[in-house]
């Protein structure tokens, strides 16, 4: 199980990569492992949409589970990974790379402070799989 140090994490298993004011969003290795084979991914927002922190942005499904994705930050959607809906298995094979989901121009980067770092998130997942 990977927990890259440079990322920020949420309790609902999203990760965020920050470059200046831009946040790239995806789901974690732990999440894909819990879901097992991902067979479906859908983004429910469009480029240009203004998001508030906590808004639903996507849906992931495996054969036995479904997960809704929430944005941990507020801002405007600038880019969506168009390749993902046709290749949802990327979420299993490369959750932190090819399976990035969308990019957001953050309006309040201070929100990042409420997210976990890699160590805290790893501990969180260990408690949950108890």
């Amino acid at each position: 199980m990977k927990f890259p140090n440079e990322l920020k994490y949420t309790e609902s298993d999203e990760w965020v990569r920050v470059e200046a004011d831009s946040a790239t969003l995806g789901v974690t290795d732990f999440a894909q492992d819990q879901l097992s084979d991902v067979v479906y991914f859908e983004v429910v927002v469009q480029v240009g949409d203004k998001l508030s922190k906590g808004d639903a942005v996507g849906i992931l499904e495996s054969v036995k589970a479904a997960a809704d994705l929430y944005s941990p930050v507020s801002g405007e959607v600038t880019e969506i990974n168009d390749a993902l809906p046709d290749n949802p298995e990327l979420v299993n094979s490369d959750p932190y790379g090819m399976a990035w989901m969308l990019r957001i121009q953050m309006s309040d980067p201070a929100e990042l402070e409420q997210m976990m770092d890699a160590g805290a998130y790893q501990q969180n997942t260990e408690e949950r799989s108890g």
């Binding site: 084979d37 067979v39 479906y40 499904e61 054969v63 036995k64």
Partner: protein, 493 residues
């Protein structure tokens, strides 16, 4: 051996003579071309081809009449054959739902009596037979709770409390009714956590949905206190009657303070499960909620006397939430449940519960040393084991289930309730003999031993069935939901 059965489109041959209806005995009427369809993709088979096709398909199925079917929470008891004959009596099977009720007094008398019997068994003031299934009964019940609060000028009660061990239908129903779900944790003995409940009980609570016995097969030890807490804050208590088989003649939910409860005629009252329905989910309510029932319900419109039976009619309750279904519910299922209750009678009700509980506890006693029991106390009609093994970490509950097929048994319910890891939920029902239970115990123990000695035997099971494990990932990714055009064109040439 390949057991793949062609589908009806593959079996079709253009021009095959099939079923014939009588010739037209009136003149042709004009039939404007522009209204007509130009093609209709339906198969063409002889009656023998149809018969063999479905008989072969049936042989790929497993039913209660095949062997033991301990599917937890589904009450797979024997479906008496007389029920089937009763529902097919022409006087029942060939009556139209909108005929004049004066010429349908037999149907109405049966429904009225069944309403009364169910009310008596559950301890309620009245019953509607309209809901078509358990989940449909839930929707009806929660809409009644909502209407009750609205009618009392208390529309801000939007919270429905649902224990984390509940069936998925409970939260889904709540959302569908426009209310919001608050999940309650379970305590260490599998009961609703009283502290958590106390915290949530305020003037925004519309009600609590409670399955009792719960989905762990355990009777809520503090049920009266739970109900009192909800009532004291102005909420109502909805009972999910999925597990009513354990309570027949033992305790009446109405006497415990439940305000609403749905019955599953296809679980408790032996109507067949039909490969996934039709079910039937009548709803019982307390006096205060009678006027909100969906209608119409059957009532006496003229009392009877020594010579004449009463005249029954269809009546709409005064503040009804409305219809939840066209016509009068699953009448064919009402006939079967009526037949069942009439057969067992007064003393038989408790016999059913007693033996359902006896069988479950007998299995639990025999298996608790082999499988981990997460909440181990006297169970009701079912119990939950964990299908995981310390010495065989790669074996899962699903593997145990699949291996049971090789022993000729239907697997238990898997992965439910969600609060137990690797759950195996086992419900034997009262109609199984000790000999059958002993054979099942032997299978479960052998499988546990095999999990340690030859885990691959479980992981690749089943081995003796016509089909091996199916690829669910491919099904979900490729989504073939209909016979494919390629097959059609073959069928057409």
């Amino acid at each position: 051996m390949n057991r793949v059965e062609p589908n009806v489109y593959e079996l079709s041959t253009p021009g095959r003579p099939s079923h014939r209806f009588p010739d037209l005995d009136v003149p042709f009427a004009e039939l404007p071309d522009k209204m007509l369809r130009d093609h209709l993709e339906l198969p063409e088979l002889s009656e023998l081809e149809v018969t063999r096709h479905f008989v072969r398909l049936s042989q790929l199925n497993f039913g209660i009449d095949t062997a033991f079917y301990p599917l937890g929470s589904c009450t797979m008891k024997y479906n008496p054959k007389v029920n089937e004959d009763a529902a097919r009596l022409p006087g029942f099977a060939h009556t139209h739902p909108l005929q004049d009720t004066k010429v349908l007094q037999g149907n109405l008398a049966l429904m009225y009596t069944l309403q009364e019997w169910l009310a008596e068994i559950g301890g309620f003031a009245g019953v509607s037979l309209q809901p078509a299934a358990g989940a449909h009964g839930e929707l009806t019940g929660i809409l009644i709770l909502r209407a009750y609060h609205q009618d009392r000028g208390d529309p801000d009660r939007k919270k429905i409390l649902v224990p984390d061990s509940a069936h998925g239908t409970n939260p889904a129903t709540t959302t569908m009714s426009g209310l919001s779900v608050i999940e309650l944790p379970s305590d260490k003995r599998g009961n609703v956590d009283l502290e958590a409940l106390r915290t949530e009980c305020d003037d925004t609570v519309a009600g609590l949905m409670l399955t009792n016995p719960n989905t762990l097969g355990l009777f809520e030890e503090h049920v009266e206190e739970v109900i009192k807490l909800v009532h004291d804050c102005g909420g109502l208590v909805y009972g999910d009657g999925a597990n009513m088989n354990a309570l027949l003649g033992v305790i009446r939910p109405g006497d415990l303070g439940f305000d609403v409860l749905h019955y599953n005629l296809h679980k408790t009252f032996s109507t067949p499960h039909g490969g996934g329905g039709p079910g039937s989910g009548p709803l019982g309510v307390s006096e205060a909620l009678l006027d909100y029932l969906p209608g119409p319900i059957v009532d006496t419109v003229e009392p009877g006397d020594d010579d004449l039976p009463p005249l029954y009619g269809l009546v709409m309750p005064k503040k009804t939430i409305g219809r939840v279904k066209a016509f009068h519910g699953h009448f064919g299922m009402h006939v079967r449940a009526f037949t069942y209750i009439r057969s067992y009678g007064k003393s038989g009700m408790r016999d059913i519960a007693d033996h359902a509980v006896l069988n479950a506890n007998y299995l639990l006693a025999a298996l608790r040393d082999t499988y981990h029991v997460p909440f181990d106390r006297t169970c009701m009609h079912e119990f939950v084991l964990e299908g995981r093994f310390e010495k065989a970490p790669g074996v899962h509950a699903l593997d145990v289930s699949k291996r049971l097929m090789d022993w000729g048994f239907h697997p238990p319910t898997n992965y439910f309730p969600l609060i137990v890891q690797e759950a195996l939920m086992i419900e034997p029902t009262e109609t199984e003999s000790k000999a059958t239970l002993d054979a099942f115990i032997e299978a479960m123990k052998s499988i546990a031993q095999e999990a340690e000695d030859h885990p691959e035997q479980l992981q690749t099971a089943p081995h003796t069935t016509a089909f091996g494990r199916l690829d669910e990932v491919q099904a979900a990714k490729e989504l073939v939901l209909c016979c494919r055009p390629a097959e059609l064109s073959t069928a057409e040439t």
